[in-house]
């Protein structure tokens, strides 16, 4: 290819990446930001769609969706389904998305009992505390579920959180069209 042609060739299309935290703690997003200055070369190859980093409210057509957190309420279900509908490749990012994680530790306590104890009968409550019932609050599910129990997931990246290096390697593989694998020391459940 001549120099002229090389100059004329359009740069590769940037991939669209959406991220969200459902029943998570944003620890996985924080770990994602821990790729530090590598974020700059990453931004040469991807652009963010819906994400806490852009504040875009709804996910458009995307190449990659990263889902942090499990599914604990009706809004989580709706957002997760929106991600599945719009993302070519959907990734469960971190322990809670993969197996429910910390929020799922409530799963063998009946939801009614749980709310009673947290808001009515537990320690340290203000007088007159009651179970929040604002209609804008999404309804809780009986149990917290990993995302793969609700929609089809293409890849899983475990860890609490997955390390920045694991996320970096993983995204690079996806961007370059390789099947992501976690190298030595990058597969951790804790």
């Amino acid at each position: 290819m001549s120099d002229e042609h090389a100059r004329a060739a359009p740069p590769p299309r940037k991939l669209k990446l959406a991220t969200v935290s459902l029943a998570g703690c944003f620890g996985c997003h924080t770990s994602f930001l821990d790729i530090d200055e590598r974020l700059l070369p990453l931004l040469e190859r991807i652009e963010f769609d819906r994400s806490p980093l852009t504040d875009i409210k709804h996910c458009g057509p995307c190449d990659i969706g990263l889902v942090e957190g499990g599914v604990c309420n009706a809004e989580n279900v709706e957002v997760l389904r929106e991600f599945r509908a719009h993302c070519r490749v959907l990734v469960a990012l971190g322990a809670c998305a993969v197996n429910g994680g910390l929020p799922a530790q409530r799963n063998n306590i009946a939801l009614g009992e749980l709310l009673q104890e947290v808001y009515r009968t537990g320690h340290g409550l203000a007088a007159g505390s009651r179970i929040p019932d604002d209609p804008e609050l999404p309804l809780l599910l009986n149990q917290v579920h990993p995302v793969h129990e609700v929609v089809r997931i293409d890849y899983f990246l475990p860890g609490c959180p997955p390390s920045a290096d694991a996320i970096w390697d993983f995204l690079n593989a996806l961007i370059e069209g390789r099947a992501p694998t976690l190298g030595p020391g990058l597969l951790q459940y804790d």
Binding site: A95, N99, N108, L157, Q188
Partner: protein, 237 residues
């Protein structure tokens, strides 16, 4: 000692009476396992050590080594079967690694890393299994029990106390404590018992020593379990 078999194409010597697992371990070769321990009689229940011998599946911990055997161990197909067994174990209990003191020292977790398990795949049971904190020195966390019976064997065969047993059948199988109340505090169990140190997961834990070892220095942080059988290392304790 001239007897030998082939394990993934490598010649492994064995002495009469040894199992495939014992001969492989003696040669520093890793065959994945959970319920097998070199100091105890084989149990053959976890099925992780399944191998193919002459095209047939067998558990390496129970099948005798024989001259000329051709044993297939770490093939992608067999590791995939092992991954499925691990996934079943993970969804049947409550294995929440980030809050577990055994994390980094856990044979179940280390084996899942070795098999490349990225997801539990199946729907979780999230069983309700109350723990037993009655004993002053040892905690029983039934949520993590994988029914390997190593504590049963250690308490019966080494400690001579018969503190533990499995009760129930199939999905209802569970670990029980041999006292009228069912509580560990009401047995003669002691923290110095072999059964207190043999649990491969975080089901039997000594109190007040959790998280003493920082992340990075735990058993399987520097060396994955697949390398832990190589000469000069010990698998547990």
């Amino acid at each position: 000692m001239n007897d030998s078999f082939l394990l993934d194409g490598e010649t492994i010597p064995f002495s009469p009476g040894q199992t495939v697992m014992q001969a492989a371990a003696a040669a520093g070769k890793y065959i994945p396992h959970l319920c097998w321990h070199p100091d105890f009689a084989p149990h053959g229940s976890c099925r992780l050590c399944i191998v193919r011998i002459g095209g047939r599946y067998a558990t390496a911990c129970t099948v005798g080594a024989a001259r000329g055997q051709v044993v297939e161990n770490r093939s992608e197909a067999i590791d995939a079967e092992r991954r499925t067994l691990l996934q079943l174990l993970f969804v049947e209990g409550n294995h929440f690694c980030p809050s577990c003191e055994k994390s980094g020292d856990c044979v179940l977790q280390a084996t899942a890393y070795e098999m490349g398990m990225l997801t539990p795949h199946f729907d979780h049971f999230y069983p309700d299994r109350p723990l037993d904190a009655s004993h002053p020195e040892v905690l029983l966390e039934f949520n993590r029990c994988i029914l390997c019976e190593l504590c049963v064997r250690a308490s019966r065969d080494v400690d001579r106390k018969n503190v533990f047993a499995l009760a129930g059948r199939g999905l209802r199988s569970h670990l029980i404590v041999n006292s009228e109340s069912g509580r560990l505090a009401d047995t003669d169990f002691a923290a110095t018992d072999r059964a207190a140190a043999v649990c491969p997961v975080g089901a039997i834990l000594k109190k007040r020593v959790g998280f003493a070892m920082p992340i990075g220095k735990r058993t399987y942080d520097p060396r994955p379990i697949g390398k832990s059988h190589e000469p000069g290392t010990r698998e547990d304790e």
